[in-house]
């Protein structure tokens, strides 16, 4: 119920449209009511065989019908408009909200499920709003009007016609609980299916490498079969409820009216035309709306799960956001300070344990260390994708938590470890770094990233699409596009997280020259396992299990003969052996 009140809150905004709908509804209801009365006029005259003004009757009948279908069409257009508008606004709201949520949110939710939230759940709500809510209003109006009319026509008969009403309600109450429960189960199962489907389609490469196609199909069949059973069961219950409702309303109800009304006609207290009109009022305008009132309850039950999920997303507070009064970070020089930083992704499992590091503006810092030691995490903290648990990170003396997120990220350009390109042209992919960049600037960035010659060799050059209706790039080519994108963004602090791991040394060296030029005068953080990449760094930071074990220049660290020297020797063993051999000869 709480969900519903909130939904009302969401719909309230469209009060203009709602008012329109209300008016049109009243008009439709109003135009529907004369129908049975006109028929009564006809029947009574015909039964008595009294001549009457036939053209007038014709005009009334056709006129009322046309008017009511015009108004009806108007109503249904307005309702559609409301529904579409609502979907539009709701999707915007959801998507915009998701975008404000930090990376942690996306790591904890499968892509497929988030998609379903924006597409399916919103569509379900629309069905409720344009399907149920509107008829609810119009039905309530009609119901009241008809009750008044039938009671004034013949109170005795009207009272009898309500006799079947309790049965209606009992029938509804009997079914709704289980329908609701099934609806929740269906949604859950559906989500699991969507989540898996998305993952397995995106991971087709792995599925195929292990020849697991049949296994995956079996898995999928299991899920869809569960869905099948749940759906059939829900359908069965729905059908049962509906059939009973129809029997009670149309069958029992009419029978009672004909019986009681028939007696009255025989007793002379009711005209035959009135009986016909009465029946059509009751079936068309009384039981119908009541039936639909049941329907809307059924719909609400089905919608509940969708509502819960939509509001669940909307209620997820971004735990990374501008605090009130956060200032915009002015153009920075790039001095970065990690001050006794602690951090954990999962409570109780610290990943960064008391790291302090001081970087002067313009310095190049390299992180090396074992896989999983927290290098990427250090970077994620710097762009404030997560907040430190203890200690502080400052940039130019500003604590990251005190400045506006946008102003920070705009000045920090990161090439992330796993390259992501989008399904658009190569040019647009590079331009993603700075949307207002000109074509020449894009091409320059590509040149600096040593990818221009590859792009230019393509028949459609920079306009080549990646992915759908386009080409796929090799691992190293993708990395170079990502580097071009970062170069173009022209950040104050440049972060390269293993941005060249898939490149051969020659290509890498060529890029390195361009990067060095770019890094001139900027602070940069470089993570690399190929140590030749980082020998020039001002500070090399060696991390191990979340702490800094060594820090210093290449030369200092080599002289110290610690972890770094060990790593270095290990990697260059081959070359060193050879050198020694050469020296000996």
């Amino acid at each position: 119920m709480r969900n519903l009140t909130r939904l009302f809150g969401e719909v309230k905004r469209y009060w203009g449209i709602l008012l329109c709908i209300l008016l049109l509804t009243a008009a439709t209801a109003g135009l529907g009511l004369p129908g049975p009365l006109i028929i009564r006029y006809l029947v009574d005259n015909l039964v008595e065989r009294k001549p009457f003004n036939i053209p007038l009757f014709f005009g009334l009948y056709v006129g009322v019908s046309i008017a009511s279908s015009l108004v009806g069409a108007g109503l249904s257009m307005t309702v559609t408009y409301l529904g579409q508008r609502f979907k539009y606004d709701m999707r915007r709201k959801l998507y915009a909200h998701m975008q404000t949520l930090p990376l942690g949110f996306f790591e904890k939710n499968q892509t497929g499920k988030l998609m379903s939230n924006i597409t399916n759940d919103v569509a379900t709500l629309d069905q409720l709003i344009s399907g149920g809510f509107v008829t609810l209003v119009s039905d309530l109006v009609t119901l009241t009007a008809v009750l008044i009319i039938v009671f004034r026509m013949n109170a005795y008969l009207a009272a009898w016609s309500l006799v079947v009403f309790p049965l209606y309600i009992a029938n509804y109450l009997l079914h709704i609980g289980r329908i609701k429960k099934r609806a929740d189960e269906i949604r859950e199962e559906r989500d699991v299916m969507l989540g898996d489907l998305q993952e397995k389609l995106a991971g087709a490469m792995v599925v195929k490498s292990y020849a697991k196609e049949r296994f995956e199909v079996r898995q999928f069949v299991g899920q869809t079969r569960n869905l099948l059973e749940l759906n059939v069961d829900q359908g069965m219950m729905g059908t049962r409820m509906w059939t009973l409702a129809e029997f009670i309303g149309s069958g029992l109800g009419i029978a009672v009216i004909m019986l009681i009304g028939g007696r009255q006609v025989m007793a002379g207290s009711l005209s035959p035309g009135s009986l016909i009109a009465f029946t059509s009022f009751i079936t068309g305008y009384l039981y119908g709306p009541i039936l639909r009132l049941i329907q809307i309850n059924d719909q609400i039950a089905r919608t509940n799960a969708a509502l819960t999920r939509i509001f669940g997303t909307l209620d997820t507070e971004p735990n990374i956001k501008d605090r009130p009064g956060a200032v915009a970070l002015p153009t920075i020089t790039g001095a970065v300070e990690y001050d006794n930083v602690w951090f954990e992704y999962e409570p109780g499992q610290p990943v960064i344990k008391g790291v302090s590091l001081s970087v002067r503006a313009g310095q190049m810092v390299a992180f090396v260390g074992q896989s999983g030691s927290g290098k990427t995490t250090m970077i994620n903290l710097l762009s404030r994708h997560y907040d430190v648990a203890d200690g502080a990170i400052t940039v130019d003396g500003h604590d990251l938590r005190d400045v506006q997120l946008a102003s920070l990220r705009r000045q920090v350009g990161v090439v992330i470890q796993e390259t992501v390109l989008f399904n658009t042209t190569i040019r647009e992919n590079i331009r993603y770094g700075r949307l207002e960049a000109s074509d020449t600037e894009v091409e320059e960035a590509a040149r600096a990233a040593n990818i221009a010659h590859v792009i230019e060799a393509l028949p459609r050059g920079y306009e080549t699409r990646i992915g759908e209706e386009g080409i796929k790039l090799s691992g190293g080519e993708k990395q170079r596009i990502a580097i071009a994108r970062a170069i173009l963004s022209d950040p104050r602090i440049l972060v390269l997280d293993e941005a060249t791991s898939a490149l051969d040394s020659e290509t890498e060296t060529q890029i390195q020259t361009a990067l060095e030029r770019l890094m001139e005068g900027r602070t940069s953080f470089v993570i690399a396992h190929r140590l030749s990449t980082i020998v020039k760094a001002d500070i090399i930071v060696v991390m191990e299990k979340g702490v800094i074990r060594e820090a210093g220049s290449h030369q200092e660290l080599l002289e110290r003969g610690g972890i770094y020297a060990g790593l270095y020797l290990q990697q260059f063993e081959v070359a060193l052996d050879q050198q020694r051999a050469e020296r000996r000869t």
Partner: protein
């Protein structure tokens, strides 16, 4: 509409139920017929005769009629619900199975989200049409067939009047059909675009956030939503207009019948009750016409969906088992490239005339500049793509003549980008070999130097990855992918840049374990860090899609060439002064 016929073919296995459903439809239709007659009887006979017992008879007749109708329609709806769900199931199953058969080139060229839309949304639309509109259509047709003679028999002049209007429907319908259809197709496409964009941007959220493009992305997404909105509105407008015309025509028709009927009644050629009953029946005629509009809309909408589902089902996989393909239970592991040329796009070759013979048990390293075709070369061994020219032979047999599954099961392939699924670590490692024992899984994790990390986690191997679980660092992911590949005990092991994200120390551990694992298998290793591959039996150097050199490390560094350059470049710093000083 031949696709519609094909869709109906899916009903064939459930023939008995379909027949039963049609029979039930007949019952339901028939049960609607007596009601106007009962009214007539009441008006013309019971009431004028003031017969209490007949009135009671009317009462029970109505109750009985609706009870009968209730039972029949319950059975019918249940059956239809079942059939609809069943077709959804069959279609989904077939689509998904087929998608799994399609080769990688299919996935290369499509957005994941769009493929999803086909499996999910399109099929939903189809189900909706079958259980909704299609059934109504059949019921309506049945009603027409039954009611037509009844009205003609009741009063043929009035019946003729009523039927005169029918052609108007046909004309109006024809006028609108094309535009509705075009809109439906367009709407499906826009919906696809929406899903595609959504999937991509949610999956790539790290980049969106890294460049602070949240606002921009919202705007972009909203344009696709806007497109859907606009089209949805135009579709609604068209539908309503069509609906309006049809209602007006039927209202006019009914009015005329009342007019003429009233004259007949006044001239005592017709009973009042008869006229009311007649108009009741006419409702059964015009009702279907109105509903036809709705059905038409649904049908157009579904038509687009049906076409797309069958389009997927009709896409022939590029890579398929030849009819007489042999299953190789156990490979020796000899691999041979004979005059192989290949291009993803045949007009743009990536590999040129590759000749390479690899003996079982060899360790082959492949090096070369980025984009030179290394990944492509190994992709051909696992037959992810078929060669354009020449042939790839395993154990002397062309890969195209071997059962795909028997090749892939015996190849352990670690691709350049590691992909894990949102399940536990154990399930991820055991993905290629579900029946692995715990000891085997731990052994595989040890080989990849991952055991100590996993053992430290509170839930150990049962830790979930991704949703409701941890995220691994990239190096950890790579190691997991290596563990996964070694667990299957493959005859041929392919590592495509599989240790690029590992530091030298971890890599050395992994390498030591891999040296043991590689024993007795044929191995292909692609790596840019040359220290990884110096121990290879042979190093194959690729440049711009050609093999430019083959030899051992010692041979290759001794002669000028691509390899020597790469080597010098990478180890240049090793020759620097500091190091010399350090070495003393």
């Amino acid at each position: 509409m031949s696709n519609l016929g094909r869709l109906l073919g899916y009903l064939k296995p459930y023939r008995a139920r379909v027949v039963l459903a049609v029979f039930l439809m007949l019952l339901v239709t028939a049960s609607a017929l007596p009601m106007p007659r009962i009214t007539q009887y009441l008006l013309d006979v019971v009431l004028p005769q003031r017969s209490q017992s007949r009135l009671l008879g009317v009462f029970w007749a109505i109750v009985g009629l609706y009870a009968f109708r209730g039972v029949a329609s319950f059975l019918l709806n249940y059956l239809l619900g079942w059939l609809g769900q069943r077709i959804v199931f069959d279609l989904r199953f077939q689509s998904y199975r087929h998608l799994n058969r399609l080769s990688l080139s299919y996935y290369d060229k499509r957005q994941t989200g769009k493929i999803m839309a086909r499996v999910i949304d399109d099929i939903n639309v189809i189900q909706y049409m079958i259980t909704g509109g299609f059934v109504t259509l059949i019921t309506d047709i049945l009603t027409l067939i039954v009611v037509m003679p009844v009205v003609v028999w009741m009063q043929w002049q009035l019946a003729v009047m009523a039927l005169v209007i029918v052609p108007t429907y046909v004309v109006v319908y024809k006028l609108f059909l094309k535009r509705i259809r075009a809109l439906s197709v367009e709407l499906r496409e826009k919906w696809d675009a929406l899903i595609g964009a959504l999937q991509e941007k949610i999956a790539g959220i790290t980049v969106v956030k890294a460049f602070h493009r949240e606002g921009y992305e919202v705007d972009r997404f909203m344009t696709t939503v806007q497109d859907n909105y606009t089209l949805g509105m135009s579709q609604a407008k068209l539908n309503r207009l069509l609906g309006l015309i049809v209602t007006v025509v039927s209202a006019g028709g009914t009015g005329l019948i009342y007019w003429y009927g009233a004259i007949l009644v006044l001239h005592r050629q017709l009973q009042a009750g008869e006229l009311i009953a007649f108009v009741g029946y006419i409702g059964y005629l015009y009702g279907p016409a109105l509903r036809l509009v709705d059905f038409n809309i649904q049908a157009q909408w579904a038509g687009a969906a049906i076409d797309r589902v069958f389009e997927t089902l009709d896409t022939r996989p590029d890579i398929m088992d030849a009819p007489n393909a042999v299953a190789l239970a156990s490979l020796r592991g000899e691999v041979r490239f004979r005059n192989v040329s290949f291009g993803y796009d045949p007009s743009k070759p990536v590999l040129h005339d590759i000749n390479l013979e690899v003996k079982a048990g060899e360790l082959i390293a492949i090096v070369g500049p980025s984009g030179s075709g290394k990944t492509t070369l190994v992709n051909l061994i696992a037959r992810f793509y078929d060669v354009t020219e020449g042939e790839v032979l395993i154990d002397g047999l062309d890969v195209r003549s071997i059962r795909l599954e028997s090749i892939r099961r015996q190849i352990g392939y670690v691709s350049q980008e590691s992909l894990l699924f949102s399940v536990t670590l154990r399930e991820n490692i055991a993905y290629g070999f579900h029946d692995a024992t715990d000891t085997q899984i731990i052994e595989a994790a040890r080989n990849a130097d991952l055991h100590s990390y996993i053992a430290d986690l509170p839930d150990g191997y049962d830790t979930k990855i991704g949703e409701d679980g941890v995220k691994l660092s990239v190096g950890q992911k790579q190691r997991l992918a290596i563990a996964r590949a070694t667990l299957t005990n493959p005859r041929i092991l392919i590592l495509d840049d599989a240790t690029s994200a590992l530091d030298s120390e971890t890599e050395a551990h992994v390498q030591a374990a891999l040296d043991r694992v590689m024993e007795g298998r044929t191995n292909f290793v692609i790596a840019h860090r040359l220290s990884t591959i110096v121990n290879a039996d042979r190093i194959v150097v690729i440049d711009a899609g050609r093999i430019v050199d083959v030899g051992t490390h010692a041979e290759l560094v001794a002669r000028p060439g691509v390899y020597k350059n790469l080597y010098d470049e990478q180890f240049r710093s090793a020759q620097d002064e500091a190091l010399a000083a350090y070495l003393g």
